[in-house]
Symmetry: C2
Subunit: 193 residues, 2 copies
DNA sequence: TACCCTTCCAAGCGCTTGCTAGGGAGGCTA
DNA sequence: TAGCCTCCCTAGCAAGCGCTTGGAAGGGTA
């Protein structure tokens, strides 16, 4: 190779692409190897197992997400400001890890299983706590409506937010920033005029 | 058996349960057979293939959905009334086919593939058209805001709506009707107070 | 009783899966 | 030059996959 790229990173990138497109279970190690340009056995010089590859992809994504969420929660105490911050942080992370975002959505059950990676489970709980706290604070302070249970509002916000990874591709005129802005508009003020 | 239940229906029910929990690719025909209480080979007396089982589950779901959507679009011409109707129809269908709903969300890409079942692709287009029409009519008539593109609003509504199948289980005090009502509240009026 | 039809089992086929063992090529260090 | 380390290939194993074949059991019909 002309540029001394790290093979490990190339494997992670190609694997994430395939996992996102086909699902983890439907992607074979031979496919990953072929996408990299090596044979399947050679993957095992870099990773201990197929699961190990999945873990590396998702863990990196979750680490970034938690870091961004922590910054938002530390910088702002106002529920509305925090909500906007969390949305922007989520979409920014999704922009940085588009494949991982999709993998996490599609295979969440597999990843959150008891034998799944511990880091993922911990991060998932931390992420959930941030949202619940913001929504409950907002409902208590009067910033948000309190006639709909937080346990219902949160999943609606969450799923609409994260599944953007499935369908959204930024264009020159409509990027991630615009998406975040419009997302906030819809969920905070509704679609009624 | 005491009651002469149709074996085919039992197979569909158990298979749907497993597909929803584990994903289609991760569920084996041997698992399905074991859940029914027969051997894997015996499944092939009732179905031609594993894909055939998946198709039967999802097609039944999609048929019901399209029927309900057609009724809504025929009964109401007002965008807001149609929106409420589509939400209620979706959640009612989801209540009748909880497993199929989840399968469709998790394996949508697989099902919408070019070699997937034709009925599913047709139904998916029909469903999409209904939503787009309602949202565009509403934006044009002034019932809905028009500063956020319909191509963004629709996926947000859709994903938040359909992924309820992943997390929602009705209780005695909070059922599908209540969920539909709250869903409309959030998306139409927003969470701000 | 004789026949048929439905439903299932027993056995296994051909193939793919994730993964492993052993070795070779090339570069770096001493 | 000698030795080592990194990275990859060749070859293949054991297990599991979807699916097929041939036949047996049992009930319904005549």
């Amino acid at each position: 190779m002309a540029t001394p790229v790290d093979r490990r990173d190339v494997i992670l990138e190609r694997a994430a692409d395939l996992f996102a497109k086909q699902g983890v279970a439907a992607t074979t190690v031979r496919e990953i190897a072929e996408a990299v340009g090596i044979l399947s056995g050679s993957l095992y010089h870099h990773f201990a197992s197929k699961d190990d590859i999945v873990d590396a992809i998702v863990s990196s994504f979750m680490d970034d997400l938690v870091t961004r969420y922590d910054a938002v929660m530390a910088a702002d105490a106002d529920p509305h400001g925090r909500l906007v911050g969390l949305v922007r942080a989520s979409i920014a992370t999704s922009a940085d890890h588009p494949h991982a975002t999709e993998i996490y959505q599609n295979d969440a059950r597999y990843l959150q299983a008891d034998d799944g990676p511990t880091i993922v489970r911990q991060s998932a709980r931390s992420v959930r706590n941030a949202w619940i706290q913001v929504l409950e604070d907002g409902a208590a302070s009067g910033a948000f409506r309190n006639d709909v249970p937080v346990k219902v509002v949160y999943p609606l916000l969450r799923d609409g937010l994260w599944l953007t990874a499935r369908w959204f591709t930024p264009t020159r005129t409509y990027g991630y920033d615009q998406l975040a802005e419009d997302y906030v508009k819809v969920f905070v003020d509704g679609i009624a005029r």
